[in-house]
């Protein structure tokens, strides 16, 4: 079964930072993850899409550069979900 790892303030919505969550793709996995957790849904998703600044990584690659929410997820995969984060340096707003 795929694993989901939560980071930053997303951990406050879960008893464990690492969870076993079934799903064949990112969308299904996130749907299952948030099915019983309205706070987590609110933090990650909006109208079924990822909220701005939420990053989801599969094997260290951002799923946005794969097939987004349709990216397939295997039984051994780990999905890492990051809330809006910044630090360590400069960034550019525009």
């Amino acid at each position: 079964m795929p694993k989901v790892k939560l980071y930053g303030n997303l951990r406050r919505y879960s008893q464990s930072p690492t969870l076993d969550v079934p799903g064949r793709n990112v969308a299904e996995t996130l749907a299952t993850l948030c099915a019983q957790n309205d706070d987590l849904y609110e933090a990650i998703l909006q109208d079924g899409k990822l909220k701005p600044h939420i990053r989801v990584m599969l094997a260290g690659r951002d799923v946005e550069l794969a097939q987004g929410l349709d990216t397939p997820v295997g039984d051994e995969d780990i999905l890492a979900i990051f809330p809006p984060i910044a630090g360590g340096s400069s960034h550019r707003r525009s």
């Binding site: 930053g8 303030n9 600044h53 550069l65 990051f82 809006p84 910044a86 630090g87 400069s90 550019r92």
Partner: protein
Amino acid sequence: MEGWSGKILEVNLSTGGTETHALDTDMARLFLGGRGLGARLLWDLVGPEVEPLSPGNVLIFAAGPLTASGSQTSNRFSVSTKSPLTGTILDANSGGWWGMQFKRTGHDALIVRGRAERPVMIAITPEGVSIQDAAHLWGKTVSETTRLLGQNNNKRNVLCIGPAGENLSRMAAIMNDGTRSLARGGPGAVMGSKNLKAIVVVGDQKNQAEDRERFQFMLYETGKLIKASPLTSQALPEFGTSVVMNVVNEIGALPTRNFRQSQFEGAEAISGERMTDTILVRKQACWACPIACTRVTKTERAEGEGPEYESTWALGAQCGIDDLEAIAEANYLCNDLGLDTISTGSTIGCAMEMAERGLLDSDLRFGRADLLLGTIRSIAYREDLGDQLAEGSYRFAEAYGVPELSMSAKKLEMPAYDPRGMQGQGLLYATSNRGACHMRGNMLGPEVLALPRLIDRLATQGKAGIVAVHQNTAAVVDSLVLCKFTNLAVAEEFFARTLTAVTGVPFTGDDLQQVGERVWNLERLYNLREGFTRADDTLPDRMLKEPIKEGPSAGFTVQLEPMLEEYYQFRGWDSQGVPRPAKLKQLSLDELVLQAEGAGR
């Protein structure tokens, strides 16, 4: 013209003389202040014949037109000099309170020349400018010196060096307000070489905006943006800068054990999340900052400020250490002795690899947290092996015949991102004017955090232009001078409108981008004049030839050459990295170069 005080103070420690000059208003418009003004002044004052630790070098402390205006994060200032670590042009900037207080003394910049015969300090107060005996302070730590000189955040602010600067460590920082640092490139050693222990400032003047009504409006609008952004209103205040530890590790770009690996099994143990759960005591903000990213932490044995992400990495993953309390204490000690945490940690990591490979007779080994504090002390006081480590990782490794084990570019230690897993970051390190640096722009935003939008971190095509624009932006923010974190929420157009309100001089976002480009090109010209060439725009062999072995970035090296070609073209430079005449003319730098060439003849 408001915003600028209109005065530059010059103190000659060799003669004991002090003078005040008028600020050239054209220079102010072209270079603003801080880093830009410092680079412009340094161009005239310090040529290739000057050794960095000789009396001929200068220290230029510079505020910007927004400093002390009350605009969000308008607390910062910079120091410019020729670096004793890299030999390049150097500026380092810092927050806290000192910059605001210095501006309130009625000066835009302070130029320190010469060398005092014995330890001295400079005091700039409403009563005047004086050079005072500081023999009683020599040898004291940063915290002792700061306390003895009466640090009082909003009234009287202290900038000083610690033992590392006195002992001319090329990794020595200048510290202000006790715990803030002008860290990189060894400016503390330049201050030590001048026998200058401290600068105390007390100001009584205000930086009032030309158009106060418009300024108040911009203050309100900027505040709304900072509050609305989850980055500046949640992420940074809640977890501090170390919150990026886990994401950098997740993508396989967290340099580990002197960049031999790119993922650290102990990343979670030293992350911002763990810090918040364990040693965090409270958050703290610099003057006029609504973000409050600073951490005050406490271990069983000590309490202090930090560690920031880069420091946590350098004293942690880079050394194979996952003991957060040990890292925090090492960070406190670096601050108190006046050392750059990044270069110090990275140099220790380099020595650990050399010792493990049998190239160095030392007990240092990856993971030996118990040796951190002693090694740091030995560097600051130049004792035993520390005397060699104090030279920085490149000179240290070179002395043992293995300079390739120094993870540096232009002899400045690389910070906490493995460029093999972030190709644009590799180009950024290689072309950074002060050596490998994450504060001259940073590709973490576009390559990892999707700020402002996501690009493929492992691709190379098209990276050059993005890197250059980020470098220009960093240069102008450093010249205003503001904290780069405001740029997470606030676009440059807003900075331009605030600058217009404060100074009365019309600026647009495009104007600011051009200021940044001008500063970048002038710094490039300075380094070329020093003898740097295209061959110096490079990275350690490990980055170019040794693919990452495991993890999400496995198989990658930095594909530097094609990016460098594209970068020079984008910059308007020739194939050797020399700015073309048309570019210099566009940036109003052509006459400067012609004058220098004329003087040279």
